[in-house]
Point group: C2
Chain length 500, copies 2
């Protein structure tokens, strides 16, 4: 019936050819995992070199898929930073779960669109169940709403938008922030040292403006000073601002501090302000009985961010936001206004996640979390989290007994900050300011050189004006031996740099 | 040295056990692809039933991973909507590429964070090269900026924010839309019938407010009426609004219409307004020589959205946005203000995508696009796209020669709308209004019943006030035989419903 004589073809490979490619991919992944402890953590190439490796004209004709897998081995792996390495201590990045890796291929094969129930029945229900598990893990009410996101930024974005939409004194869906009849300015609060940049990013994306972020003083232990919070809130309200959200950090990015959640919740309750707990890095620590008391008050938060691709070791991308009452999430995102019905399915059976978050089309992110939680169980995760904390405690002990290091804080969760400041050097220098400037530069150079050495990947941060070395122990493969290796290398490089 | 006597363990499986699980996953995927033509497209279960299937307590202890794969077969696959089926004509969803499926597992294994160059050297450079290929495919300048996003909504969101940040008469990063000294209202323009909901969603997320979306009249052929556009722009400017972006649809969601791009570009140029081309569904049609003339002017757009997870068949998630000048994207998203330096890496070697888009942590989305483009080549893609268009043309021919169907428009790209309106019935009915109301209901019922039958997945839309049947031919597996099957089923159900 088709008048065109060309035969119809699909992109599909012959099943046996696909199976062979699949097995080879599995072999490559197996070998990769088996070698991950030995690989240089960072390739030590310049961006110009790597750009050159991948420069290629748009292929006009198709290439042999076996050749493409060859390139995985010859071109991609040699220029990879290995976030799964036991000595990757950089960003707070999960080290990946093996079953999560397989889940990604399975999810891609069925390719369900979790924007809606109809194009994704199983994927939607798996997400619903897994979200309830996430809540249960951190002792948050399991009848909450929530969904998986691309990461912590979009989780915090979702929470802030939900806060704004539910707290604002007018309907912000219609006029947004362009309501000229409204004279107030919406403001958000977080602590000055340890408030996370993704909150600033979220406020920026929502066009609240960076000025809307009000920084609250922090105490000596890096937690939020709630007296200052109350004072700033009341001052701002008095001068016409509309504080709509306070963000408590739950496992802060540098030192793993947990803000005083019960107090913040009460301050927010009294003033009708949304309390968002940003636990992207640390919320899951609530599953540890010995840490539980610090998390008191998390259950009072109106919303919580927690990233499975951080401390649940899930491969990228997987953030998560929980919101105490699902209908508040729906109020913030649903677009099922009558005039839009035409482009949406008529039959709203089941849960349509597109009404509960920023994305419309959505992949099957929940599968890798669902499978990983089933594979390891809550017990397995508790053991791994404890193990990471034991490594941090071990690191702290090493730092404190070594005259060449200066600790910055008590260890708590998975992050740890300190600096290299040999006692000899400190004694030789008269002016503390000049000494500190020198140490800033020295610690930065040490971190850069360690990265380039491939032995470990560590980063710096700036705290209270000074450069410090920051290690995040977020790999389930890390042991105290890895801590020994990185500290030895750090001292070796530090001594060399001082002699130069 | 560690005082805790418990041995350190990782989440890793024994290599041979992992290999076995991996092979089994590959076997399941191979079997799945081999059976995809025969599977019922939709499981025909209620959400209550499926929710029950996956209801389970949080696992306390870990489960055997083989058991988890058993559940993939026994629980997930039976409740899957098969977007890769040749008779899935629902949302504009790509049907997946086999090599893209393997790419997802490979990407997860190395788990690079494409937010930055240092945690992702190869992934960053592959994204950079693949973005240039995307531009080349649609004849857009290849020195543009751009990046892969979670989907079309976030691509349009990125484009709109970039437009706002670069066009606004004050620095919107500081005060956002809360600049009380600014009296103007920012407005966005798109066509009334075929402007896509993701633009409304993007404006909503950016807190521009839904009122900021100004709907421009469309012509008989569903393209934007540029006279009305000019009139609306000038009226709005006269009354103090600040039009900052006009969105041209490039392959509209219902009928595949392409707005008059050259005219829109010129209207925008004259007034200093950003021209965004939303080609989420259809931009890649520009690679077909026979369609190229319709795409004239696409190269003049300030930004373009195109979704590889739509008409390039890439598995979820993969949207894409191109922006003519990379520094404009950077101006909209970079957060490297000095006061934030502390939480960002000190050494900005290479390209850090977190400065060019909304996400901070980012997965390795580019890999599946890179591998798929290499596997099929531009030539392979042109053949597949032509084939989809031939199916739509065949569908149109069938509709036009059958007295029971009413066509709505000339076929163009991959979408097609018509309705079931048997001539007998039309002749029997006196009042056209009552007839149309009946046909609205009838067509909706037909679509719902076809979904439930599992034979095909089709949807309705509402165009010019009336319910129509919409088919999107976005599977590389679809042939004219599949069109025959869905039309026969449609008539069978229609006749049955009329007799009832």
């Amino acid at each position: 019936m088709d008048t065109n004589p060309e035969p119809f073809e699909s992109l599909d490979l012959d099943p046996e050819e696909f199976r062979k490619l699949g097995y080879r991919s599995v072999d490559m992944i197996t070998d990769y995992y088996a070698s991950i402890r030995e690989l240089p953590v960072f390739p030590n190439s310049t961006s110009v070199e790597v750009e050159e490796v991948f420069r290629e004209n748009l292929p006009e004709t198709g290439q042999d898929p076996q050749h493409i897998l060859d390139e995985w081995q010859s071109k991609v792996l040699p220029y990879t930073t290995h976030l799964g390495s036991p000595r990757y201590f950089g960003f707070v990045n999960g080290s990946g779960t093996m079953i999560g890796t397989l889940a990604e291929a399975l999810a891609a094969s069925v390719n369900m669109n979790t924007g809606g129930w109809k194009p994704a029945p199983a994927a939607t229900e798996i997400e619903r169940q897994t979200i309830a598990w996430m809540a249960e893990l951190i002792h948050y009410p399991t009848d909450c709403g929530g969904l998986f996101t691309s990461g912590g930024t979009m989780a915090n974005f979702t929470a802030l938008q939900t806060a704004l939409r539910n707290i604002a004194p007018y309907d912000t869906t219609v006029k947004g922030l362009q309501n000229k009849a409204f004279s107030g300015r919406f403001t958000v609060y977080m602590s000055d040292h340890e408030g996370h940049i993704s909150i600033v990013r979220a406020a920026d994306l929502l066009n609240l403006g960076r000025e809307s972020i009000r920084l609250v003083k922090s105490r000596e232990d890096f937690t939020m000073d709630t007296q200052d919070l109350e004072q700033k809130l009341d001052e701002d309200i008095a001068q016409g601002d509309v504080p709509f959200c306070v963000v408590g950090q739950v496992g802060s990015i540098n030192v793993g501090a947990i803000d005083p959640l019960v107090e913040i919740a009460e301050i927010c309750r009294q003033r009708g302000i949304w309390f968002h707990a940003d636990g992207a890095c640390g919320a899951v620590g609530a599953m540890l009985p010995e840490k539980r008391p610090q998390y008191q008050g998390l259950e009072l938060a109106d919303s919580v961010t927690l990233d499975p691709h951080k401390w649940l070791y899930i491969p990228y991308e997987c953030g998560c936001v929980l919101v105490r009452y699902p209908e508040k999430l729906r109020r913030a995102f649903s677009l099922t206004a009558p005039y839009l019905r035409g482009t949406l399915p008529s039959d709203y059976t089941g849960l349509w996640y597109l009404d509960y978050g920023p994305q419309m089309s959505r992949g099957f992110r929940a599968l890798k979390v669902w499978m990983s939680l089933k594979h390891y169980g809550a017990e397995g995760y508790r053991n791994l989290l404890s193990q990471n904390i034991r490594c941090v405690e071990y690191l702290d002990a090493c730092v404190r007994r070594d005259k060449d290091f200066e600790p910055l804080h008590k260890p708590n969760l998975l992050m740890y900050c300190f600096r290299y400041a040999p006692r000899d050097l400190r004694q030789r220098w008269d002016d503390p300011e000049t000494l500190n400037d020198y140490l800033d530069q020295l610690n930065q150079q040490i971190a850069d050189e360690i990265q380039r050495s491939g032995v470990a990947f560590i980063m710096t941060s700036r705290i209270r004006g000074r450069v410090i070395i920051r290690l995040s122990v977020c790999s389930h493969r890390t042991t105290p031996e890895d801590i020994d290796i990185v500290l030895a290398k750090l001292k070796e490089i530090g001594e060399k740099l001082i002699r130069m």
